[in-house]
């Protein structure tokens, strides 16, 4: 035993000495006090940019914008590194803490990515450049909030600005025009109209709404949509950003949960929806099964292809036809500047360029949904026109509310599981909200 003691002592010392995370140099994350916006005068710079614009129209727009930027500023060379979303998400953490970190990166907004990077001081606050380039004029406050964090990374949705997105997304209601016509209905303009349409569709033997909730998260979008009708937008925002000051266990939220359950009770969803996958569900809608589908603008291209001119898209209507829109929505991955950027000014000039008015035109032309100047664009024909109009209205009227699962690092899981329990009648609306409140309260202290 006595011969082993020193070995054990050494092992314990070694264990204690190498605390995980101690070898990654933390940055200060402070921006320069003075910024230069004349990119041509910055001298020779090489910008390493990590993006995830790898598919179809996304790849096309970034290639085109990069080329235009190079022509305009030959002194700045862009070294583009493109990866799929998943690859980017898994490798960015290591890349940012390494010696050879990229200058500009596309970082996911949520707490688990951007929030963590901010906390570790790996991203620069963009506020000085936002002022110099007048970004708040170009972007709605409701959009910029998705890239705002307090300097310690704790508060999401307000504080410093850490990135700018190019594209937007919004969760609305797809409807089958042909089916509405055969039911003798117009696209509903108020929420009571919408619920009446669901009832009428059910009565006529149609499936009112497609839902595939096997993957847990799809019901989050449906609940968010219902919630927006009875809970004030600022309360939803506070809850969804996980800030202290709101509560899940309110009468408004109870109403939302009760309404959602009543839809399931009345048979408005397909049978066995908790055991149906997300993809099969929207594909079924694309095959003409179901009158409505609550889903995001990311399905636009696929549903257009499947249903042609038979499909329409609208924002969830309010209680009255002229009510302010309240709609779950967000942004594509924002572009951020790392604290190791060799020339933050050049990096900011690049971000400014790919989000400019001209860039928004390029985005539209390549089949993307631009996040600024949306209403000024010439949208694509068909479903695209509805989507552009809906998103433009949501932005102009400051109607966007964040995804509910942003709230805490565990909320995606808690909310998804709790909604399955609620819709599967394993939990009452009160128990459902109690569970969300527990998660929220433990985090938003």
């Amino acid at each position: 035993m006595s011969r082993r003691a020193p070995a054990i002592a050494v092992a314990v010392l070694l264990l204690a000495a190498c605390t995980p995370g101690s070898d990654s140099p933390g940055g200060t994350g402070t921006p320069p006090t003075e910024v230069r916006t004349d990119a041509a005068a910055l001298g020779d710079v090489t910008l390493t940019v990590w993006d995830q614009e790898v598919r179809g129209g996304q790849a096309e727009q970034i290639k085109r914008l990069n080329a235009e930027f190079q022509t305009m500023y030959p002194n700045i060379k862009i070294n583009r590194v493109s990866r799929s979303f998943d690859d980017l998400k898994t490798t960015l953490r290591l890349a940012l803490s390494g010696k050879d970190a990229p200058d500009v990166v596309q970082a996911n907004n949520g707490r688990s990515d951007m929030g963590e990077f901010v906390k570790a001081g790996q991203l620069l606050p963009l506020d000085p450049w936002a002022k110099a380039y007048d970004w708040p004029k170009r972007y709605s406050d409701r959009v910029l909030q998705y890239s705002r964090y307090s300097a310690d990374g704790k508060t999401f949705g307000e504080g410093n600005l850490y990135g700018l997105p190019q594209v937007g997304e919004v969760v609305g209601i797809y409807y089958n025009k042909a089916k509405l016509t055969s039911l003798g209905l117009q696209p509903p303009t108020t929420w009571p109209d919408f619920e009446a349409a669901l009832a009428k569709a059910k009565g006529a033997g149609e499936l009112p709404m497609q839902l595939g909730n096997l993957d847990k998260w799809p019901a989050i979008h449906v609940f968010g949509t219902v919630q927006g009708r009875s809970v004030p937008a600022d309360q939803i925002t506070t809850l969804a950003f996980g800030r202290p000051g709101a509560s899940w266990t309110t009468s408004e939220n109870t109403k939302a949960a009760t309404d959602l359950v009543s839809w399931a009770d009345k048979g408005y969803f397909n049978s066995g929806f908790n055991g149906q996958g997300y993809d099969p569900a929207w594909q079924d809608f694309g095959k003409g099964k179901g009158v409505f589908l609550i889903a995001g603008t990311w399905l636009q291209a696929d549903l257009q292809k499947a249903l042609g001119d038979k499909v329409g898209f609208m924002l969830p209507p309010g209680t009255a036809a002229d009510a302010q829109p309240v709609v779950t929505g967000g942004t594509g991955l924002p572009f951020a500047i790392t604290n190791k950027a060799k020339s933050p000014d050049a990096a900011a000039a690049y971000i400014n360029f790919i989000t400019s008015q001209d860039a928004m035109k390029v985005l539209t032309a390549t089949g993307n949904l631009p996040i600024a100047d949306t209403t000024a664009q010439q949208p694509p024909a068909g479903l695209g026109k509805d989507v552009f109009a809906a998103f433009g209205t949501a932005l102009d009227k400051q109607g966007l509310v964040p995804y509910l699962d942003y709230a805490t690092p565990t909320m995606y899981d808690t909310l998804g599981a709790a909604l399955q329990d609620l819709l599967g009648k394993k939990a009452t609306p009160e128990q459902f909200l109690e569970r969300l409140q527990t998660d929220y309260a433990a985090f938003a202290k």
């Binding site: 995980p20 963590e116 055991g275």
Partner: protein, 287 residues
Amino acid sequence: MGSPPGEPRRIGYLYLLPALLVYGLFLLYPLGRAVHLSLFEWDGISLGKFVGLGNYLEILQDKGLRASFGHALVLIVFYSALPVVIGLALASVLHRAKVRGLGLFRTIIFLPQVVAMVVVAVAWRQIYSPDGLLNDVLRAVGLNGRGWLGDYAFALPAVGVIGTWFETGLVTVLLLAGMARIPRERFEAARLDGANAFREFFAVTLPAVRGEIAVAVTLTVIAALRTFDLVYITTSGGPGTSTSVPSYEVYHRAFELGQVGSAAAIGVCLTVLIFGITFGVNRLADR
């Protein structure tokens, strides 16, 4: 005092060195590192905080996590007990019967093992879906279908059945190989003593393949306890948390919640549990 014949012992160890190095580097080091990490509260980026056995205490107190270990035990029934019973029956029939094309049957039974688990999971997800194959069959015979993977009573068994389907082939082929080793004279002797097929099975076949059964149980229990891909793809632990298992929790905590220390602690517990069970199984079989 003469030394043992051959080269000195120290030189003997030298021959083992390359293998030990590889073993240490790729197995012992990661294992030690996991134990090390499990003592910290760490988000994967910033500086970790030493919490000693805190993560382990939390595991003991976490009701959801205890439930997930319970689910893993249920899966053992489907992954291990059922395949061994079915495999024994199948193997003894295949072994006794002089069927033409035995090789073909063996291949078919073994086929699930060849297919990647992810593919298996995707295929079964479609079979179980509300308008999938299983419900079509049920409706054809006048029964009501349901969304199997979204049903609180049936989701865990449904995931388990996939495991049964997957592991039975492996067990059958293992046992067939074991039965082929039994000397023919023993069956003849049993038959001379007037044993029927059942007596023959219990008196001759079963005792002879005890070793193979132990191997099969060990392999399938390990497969049951480390089930991740199947749950991840078919149900994501749902509906609610009714199919969540420990390995899914490891992934979830480490990569989605940024609780690396807690995830490592679950992983270590799982390793100890698997080691304990396989150790026990082998002790029983060797007796």
